[in-house]
């Protein structure tokens, strides 16, 4: 019952995020969807993931998107965001995709599982797994994040500032 509530919240948030004309409203709806998803994670016994979802998506990604909206905002954009581009066709495609996936789900025999007890995952287990078995991927993810950080700064840096800096160096 709880799952259904959260699922409805999530789907509603997602649909709203994708259909609002105002970008900020969309982001707000997106946060709602993320929150619903985090609640589902918690319900599924993955507390760590649920908390991480709240921290990363709601606390970082959503805020980042808000900043991006603020940085790219002008009249033109505001006007043009309202329009949909051939939404009927795209909707059909999306529905078709959903149809085949749903069909696949209902066709699949592997999904007929017995109800299993909720797994208990302690923080120690997660820490052990990350620091022992998955130490190398963790390091790689750290490196990737660093590279993404530097890359994002490099891409987004102001050209004017770049030129100015170069002139100074010379």
């Amino acid at each position: 019952m709880l799952f259904t509530t959260f699922a409805i919240l999530t789907v509603a948030g997602a649909v709203a995020a994708m259909s609002f004309r105002n970008l900020v409203h969309s982001v707000l709806a997106l946060i709602a969807a993320f929150a619903g998803l985090a609640a589902i994670y918690l319900q599924l016994g993955a507390q760590f993931i649920g908390l991480a979802q709240v921290l990363v998506y709601i606390g970082a990604v959503a805020i980042l998107i808000v900043f991006a909206i603020l940085l790219t905002r002008d009249k033109k954009v505001a006007q043009q965001t309202v329009s949909f581009s051939s939404w009927k066709l795209n909707g059909v495609v999306a529905l078709a995709v959903f149809a085949v996936i749903a069909w696949a789900i209902f066709q699949s025999p592997t999904l007929q599982h017995e109800i299993l007890p909720e797994p208990q995952v302690s923080m120690q287990q997660v820490g052990n797994a990350l620091m022992l078995r998955y130490a190398l991927p963790l390091e790689i993810i750290g490196l990737l994040l660093t590279a993404a950080l530097i890359g994002a700064v490099t891409i987004a840096i102001s050209e004017k500032y770049e030129k100015h800096e170069r002139r100074e160096r010379e």
């Binding site: 999306a94 085949v100 996936i101 066709q107």
Partner: protein
């Protein structure tokens, strides 16, 4: 093999080298060119003397020595060339180099004023080289090559004064006429090669003049029952006819007198025209093939042809010589006549008889020509004997030597070489088993010889000087205007010209004594036998009778000459000839050389012209039409090909290109740059893929 045989090639090579060097010399270096030519000729003469001495020392030991070498390979066969030294070669070498040397020296005086002095000596040296090559050749092919070189240099030298149209025409005539004979020669050579597979004369039993080859040739017969050897011999003799000016190809030789006089002396009297006689002598074994074994007087069909041609030529040319006015033309016809004698001698008497006359004739005819050259030089290029006269006072040395030459040519008894050589021919002709007619013809020719030579000497040297244009300016530089030259001060020629005359005169007398019946050294030498003096030789086989007859004939001729030309002094240059007064019609025919040139003009040349017009017409209308049709067919074909290209191939390609472009454009529309449509496509594709998977699983 001795040194001289191995290095016999040096004899022609030296003048050839001189020719090559002087060809590279500037026209101004006259002394260099002439001394080069004379030096090389003197060296060649010395070498020839060595060769002669070697031939003398090997009398009775070996008939000949040969040196052959492979020249070029075709198929599996090697074509060999080579040279040989036998008495015939040795005698010819000495004669050619000696006469050549004297004439070279003479030329330095005669051609002194000519601006193309160097070129002249270049050609002369080349000629000498080619002639010496003919003499030493041991291969019919090598002989033929040198033979053609000789023809070429003859052409160059006759046309030496090519500014004169007559000289150019004469050179052309000589070249073309001799080519007719040479064509037959070439055919004969090819035939010979196809029959025997050998062109070397002597090659240790494998040569074409040796017994096995001759036997092969005699064994086969060709058309009209003629043996192959006869056919080949007659073809080769045709080459000799052309080269030696025998009837009917004699027409070029008198015209060849357009060349400088030393050329006439060297080429058209002493050496080149003798090449034909030499050729017959060289291939004598072929000529006499099939006759009774090794008899000198044996006769074959080929030799009969030689005999008759020679006899007819001797009389024919002598008749014409009687009525000529040009001093050199008289000598030219005399040469033709004497060459006929040589052929006659070869035909009836064998190699020795003909060659003996060749050698003696070479000396006295060279002497006569050089003497005539001296006269022409002294009279400033005057050649008409009517405008001379009384020159004995102005040119005593020339007169004395000329008289010796004239007597030698006439065959004045006992003391002159011509008597002995001509006597040998007459004697052989008497003994000829087939017919007496050649003897009578020869005797008649001897009479005529004495007559025309007497006439010439009377006109030129004796009597009073006749100058029609007495007081014109003396020094006309232009040699072309012959008749404007002046006779008022004929002068003796320089020593460089008279010296050779004297030497030649000495030989004209002395040479006769190497071939008298009592001491037939020359004949035995050619047969490589030793000779002993036998006075009784004079009285064998009716020789005294023949000698008496010929003496009578000579005196008759001289007497007739005196009767017509010496009895009353000739006063005016315009006065008609004594014989002309007697028989104007016959004389006119003779003066026009029996109208042979006109006859050729009216027949062969007209036919030739007509044929050329015909072929021209054929070219223009038939072949040209064919070519036109073919070319237009090709044009049509190419037009067709072009249309195919343009309208079918190109159009097809264009169409294909356009469809590809259109397809590209169609596909490019998908690639519209909008990422969303790409993603949309991915979605569609994904749907289709999963649908397919599910469908296939569920089935």
């Amino acid at each position: 093999m001795t040194w001289i045989v191995r290095n016999l090639w040096l004899i022609p090579a030296l003048p050839a080298l001189a020719a090559a060097l002087s060809a590279l010399t500037k026209q101004r270096n006259r002394r260099f060119a002439s001394s080069l030519a004379i030096g090389s000729m003197a060296l060649a003469f010395l070498l020839s003397l060595v060769a002669f001495a070697h031939a003398l020392s090997s009398i009775g030991l070996s008939e000949r020595e040969v040196l052959n070498f492979p020249w070029l390979q075709f198929g599996t066969e090697w074509l060999k060339l080579g040279w040989m030294l036998d008495p015939l070669t040795a005698v010819m070498l000495v004669m050619v180099t000696f006469v050549g040397l004297l004439i070279f020296i003479y030329s330095t005086g005669y051609m002194d004023h000519d601006e193309n002095f160097t070129r002249f000596f270049c050609f002369l040296s080349l000629f000498a080289a080619a002639m010496l090559g003919v003499v030493i050749a041991n291969s019919l092919l090598l002989l033929f090559m040198c033979w053609e070189l000789v023809g070429l240099t003859s052409y160059l030298l006759i046309g030496f004064w090519y500014q004169k149209p007559s000289a150019a025409a004469a050179a052309k005539k000589a070249f073309i006429t001799t080519r007719i004979g040479d064509l037959a020669f070439l055919l004969g050579m090819v035939w010979l090669y196809s029959q025997t597979g050998a062109l070397l004369f002597y090659d240790q039993g494998a040569g074409c003049l040796e017994n096995s080859a001759i036997a092969t040739l005699v064994a086969h017969t060709t058309i009209a029952g003629m043996t192959v050897s006869t056919g080949i011999a007659i073809l080769i003799f045709s080459g000799a006819i052309g080269k030696s000016g025998q009837v009917p190809l004699h027409v070029w030789l008198p015209d060849a007198m357009e060349g400088p006089t030393p050329v006439s002396a060297l080429i058209h009297a002493a050496t080149m025209v003798a090449a034909g006689v030499f050729l017959v002598a060289r291939v004598y074994p072929l000529m006499s093939a099939g006759s009774a074994a090794h008899s000198t007087l044996a006769s074959t069909p080929a030799l009969q042809v030689v005999t008759w041609i020679g006899a007819i030529t001797a009389v024919f040319a002598a008749l014409i010589a009687v009525a000529q006015d040009d001093i050199k033309r008289i000598l030219a016809y005399s040469t033709v006549s004497q060459l006929g004698y040589m052929m006659l001698g070869l035909g009836v008497g064998g190699v020795a008889v003909g060659m003996f006359h060749l050698i003696t004739h070479a000396f006295f005819k060279a002497l006569l020509f050089l003497g005539a050259g001296s006269v022409i030089h002294g009279c400033r290029e005057e050649q008409d004997i009517h405008r001379m006269g009384g020159l004995r006072r102005y040119m005593p040395i020339t007169f004395a030597t000329y008289a010796i030459g004239m007597l030698a040519l006439c065959g004045f008894p006992l003391f002159f070489s011509g008597f002995w050589s001509k006597d040998a021919i007459l004697h052989a002709a008497v003994d000829w088993s087939y017919s007496r007619l050649p003897f009578y013809l020869a005797a008649f020719a001897a009479l005529l010889t004495a007559l025309y030579m007497t006439r010439q000497v009377y006109y030129v040297f004796l009597g009073e000087r006749r100058a029609t244009t007495a007081h014109e300016p003396a020094h006309t530089e232009d040699a072309g205007h012959l008749h404007e030259c002046v006779l008022n001060d004929p002068h003796e020629s320089p020593a460089v010209m008279t010296g050779p005359l004297v030497i030649l005169a000495a030989f004209a007398i002395l040479l006769g004594f190497i071939g008298t019946p009592a001491w037939p050294w020359f004949e035995n030498f050619l047969h490589s036998e030793t000779t002993s003096f036998n006075f009784a030789g004079f009285f064998e086989n009716g020789i005294p009778l023949v000698m008496l007859t010929s003496t009578l004939i000579v005196f008759c001729g001289l007497g007739l000459g005196w009767w017509f030309y010496g009895r009353k002094p000739i006063v005016s240059a315009e006065a008609p000839d004594a014989l002309e007064k007697l028989q104007p019609q016959i004389f006119n025919i003779l003066r026009h050389k029996f109208y042979v040139d006109e006859f050729y003009q009216a027949t062969f040349i007209r036919v030739n012209t007509w044929l050329s017009h015909l072929s021209d017409w054929f070219d223009r209308w038939i072949w040209n039409g064919v070519v036109w049709i073919v070319s237009h067919l090709i044009l049509a074909l190419s037009w067709l090909a072009r249309s195919t290209d343009t309208y079918i191939v190109n159009a097809g390609f264009d169409e294909g290109c356009e469809s590809v472009t259109a397809g590209g454009k169609l596909l490019a529309r998908l690639q519209n740059g909008r990422t969303q449509s790409y993603v949309r496509l991915v979605g569609v594709a994904f749907t289709a893929l999963v649908a397919l998977l599910i469908w296939s699983v569920s089935r």
